[in-house]
């Protein structure tokens, strides 16, 4: 149907996300690294000896918190509920009863979620960058701006890939949150650090490859991130995984029937 319908779904989904309790929680979570950076500044200001500078703190927050926690967690909660909330809320018949191709409807909703989470996650990265690196002075900030760009890009790619994965799980599985937690924080975090080929089956490994901190293998964080595949390969892997999950999601939604609550009515 017309693109207007797709825009309407996009806008409505984004509006619902930002006005929900989950949206509020996401807003709080994206400010956590800012609080940590401010705490570090406070400690330094009070003369406490801290074992790391602003650059290291920024690297750890982006790696461990934003890419390793915030992105998987937010995409997990929003992605798995993207269609499941419509099913549970009984509103799916309103969408499926309209002349909009199911695949387009699904992709519009995934796109809305992705845009909201990319904006939120990137705001978190930016805020962390300014608050953490300002500890080391303006010189550090101007020196690390390419790192910032790389982090923003990687974070956005993380949201896109994880968003596609969890949106697909939301359609494919009966308890998507449980399986999503298992995959997002079990499989991803365990296997991404293992030697061998298996780690290439995780999204986190490829995201780590893309994080610019790994370009300078000096400190602890950089060593943890030492890449073992070319960045181009990481980009290809992420693109293929994302396309695959979106394709499978489209296949499933094409065959999906409207809510079971309907049939109980008689």
């Amino acid at each position: 149907m017309a693109d207007g319908a797709i825009l309407a779904i996009f806008g409505f989904t984004a509006r619902q996300m930002t006005r929900s309790v989950k949206g509020l929680l996401f807003g709080l979570l994206l400010a956590v690294p800012w609080a940590v950076a401010l705490l570090l500044r406070l400690l330094i200001w009070r003369g406490v000896q801290v074992p790391m500078g602003g650059v290291t703190l920024y690297g750890i927050l982006v790696l461990a918190y934003i890419v390793g926690f915030l992105v998987p967690l937010s995409t997990l909660f929003f992605g798995t509920s993207l269609i499941a909330d419509e099913v549970e809320g009984g509103t799916l018949p309103y969408l499926f009863g309209r002349p909009v191709r199911r695949e387009r409807l699904y992709l519009a909703k995934v796109a809305a979620m992705t845009v909201v989470l990319v904006v939120g996650s990137c705001v978190s990265v930016l805020g962390t960058y300014f608050l953490a690196l300002s500890i080391d002075g303006a010189a550090a900030m101007s020196k690390e701006w390419t790192t910032l760009l790389g982090d923003l890009g990687t974070t956005a790619l993380g949201v896109v890939a994880y968003g596609a994965l969890f949106s697909f799980l939301g359609l494919a599985l009966k308890k998507p949150l449980f399986w999503g937690l298992l995959i997002g924080f079990g499989w991803e975090n365990l296997v991404a650090w293992l030697p061998g080929f298996l780690k290439r089956l995780t999204l986190l490994f490829h995201l780590h490859t893309l994080l610019p901190h790994s370009a300078q293998p000096q400190g602890l964080v950089q060593q943890m991130l030492a890449a073992s595949e070319p960045r181009a390969a990481a980009l290809v892997f992420l693109a293929v995984y994302t396309a695959l999950f979106l394709f499978l999601g489209c296949v499933l939604i094409r065959r999906m029937e409207a809510s079971a609550a309907e049939r109980e009515e008689g």
């Binding site: 149907m1 017309a2 207007g4 319908a5 825009l7 309407a8 779904i9 409505f12 619902q16 006005r19 809320g89 009984g90 509103t91 018949p93 309103y94 969408l95 499926f96 009863g97 309209r98 002349p99 909009v100 191709r101 199911r102 094409r254 065959r255 029937e257 409207a258 079971a260 609550a261 309907e262 049939r263 009515e265 008689g266």
Partner: protein, 304 residues
């Protein structure tokens, strides 16, 4: 025109509807059945929300399930009371209009018009969360109407409405039927359907028990006697004559001796013989009234 051909729908081992074939023509058609009869399943199949386990459901020759081309022509009002709660009625209806291909301006204008059509009035500007059940029903009807589809599928649309709202809704449904729309209305309230139309589809245990005009359906039930109330000056003579007719199964008298009720198995033969009898004798017939020529009787005959 919606055509359902030999359609069955199973949910695992549970049968939703079983080998149903029917067509829905322009005008209002009532879909009757007790709770669990399969009305909502049939409507969901017709709304393209469920895929038949076997058989076909199409609109003007095009399959309905997940088919935007067919869904353009269809407005569906679901039975469950589910909404996006934090939007106003108008916003919701306009959103549904956008999904049906209307521009933002058209959607706003059509949403206002659809809300007026179902007598929602200024209440349409309220958040859905704060609306009464009757108002919410009207919002559901308005969203089905917003893109002015030629086919309307309304699943228990009058549930929760107060009497004045019911009357308004019934009037609106009749009007849409008169305008040439194909309107299929499900209900388990016989008098509601009777107020809208005399054309019915009757479902029970997932099967189509009967379809057509109520009197036709009633006459088609040849195995069950029809109750005819008669009142005349000489009820005893009439009863003694009638009891010998093959079409009369039984006769019972009223309390005043002038009224009697005959159980008739063949209405045509009964009418012919009664005509002959009245030509022969002066019976003083005052009233002849079929007691079963209404939905309630048809319904109870068919489902009990």
């Amino acid at each position: 025109m919606i055509r359902v051909e030999n359609v069955s729908k199973w949910y695992g081992l549970v049968v939703g509807v079983n080998r149903i074939s029917l067509t829905v023509e322009p005008g209002v058609t009532g879909l009757l059945g007790v709770n669990g009869a399969g009305k909502s399943t049939l409507l969901n199949l017709m709304a393209g929300l469920l895929q038949p386990s076997s058989g076909t459901v199409d609109l003007d020759g095009k399959a309905l399930f997940a088919n935007p081309e067919s869904l353009k022509q269809l407005g569906y009002c679901p039975s469950p009371d589910h909404f996006y709660e934090d939007v106003t009625g108008l916003e919701f209806v306009a959103y549904m209009g956008r999904l049906s291909g209307l521009t933002p301006e058209q959607a706003k204008e059509r949403a206002r018009k659809a809300c007026d059509e179902v007598a929602l009035g200024e209440e349409a500007g309220k958040r859905v969360r704060g609306m009464s059940k009757g108002m919410r029903q009207k919002v559901k009807m308005a969203q089905a109407l917003v893109h002015d589809p030629p086919v309307l599928l309304l699943d228990e649309p009058l549930n929760g409405m107060d009497p004045p709202s019911r009357a308004q809704a019934i009037e609106a449904i009749r009007r849409w039927g008169e305008q040439g729309k194909c309107v299929l209305v499900s209900s388990h309230m016989l008098h509601e359907v009777e107020a809208m139309t005399s054309r019915i589809l009757l479902l029970h245990h997932g099967k189509l028990l009967a379809s057509g005009e109520v009197p036709q359906v009633r006459e088609a039930i040849a195995s069950r006697p029809m109750h005819i109330f008669l009142r005349c000056a000489d009820a005893r003579s009439l009863a003694s004559a009638m009891i010998g007719w093959p079409s009369v199964h039984a006769v019972s008298f009223g309390t005043d001796g002038k009224a009697l009720t005959a159980e008739v198995t063949d209405m045509g033969e009964f009418r012919a013989r009664l005509g002959d009898l009245m030509a022969e004798r002066e019976l003083g017939l005052e009233i002849l009234n079929p007691l079963d020529d209404n939905l309630s009787a048809v319904f109870s005959y068919l489902v009990t």
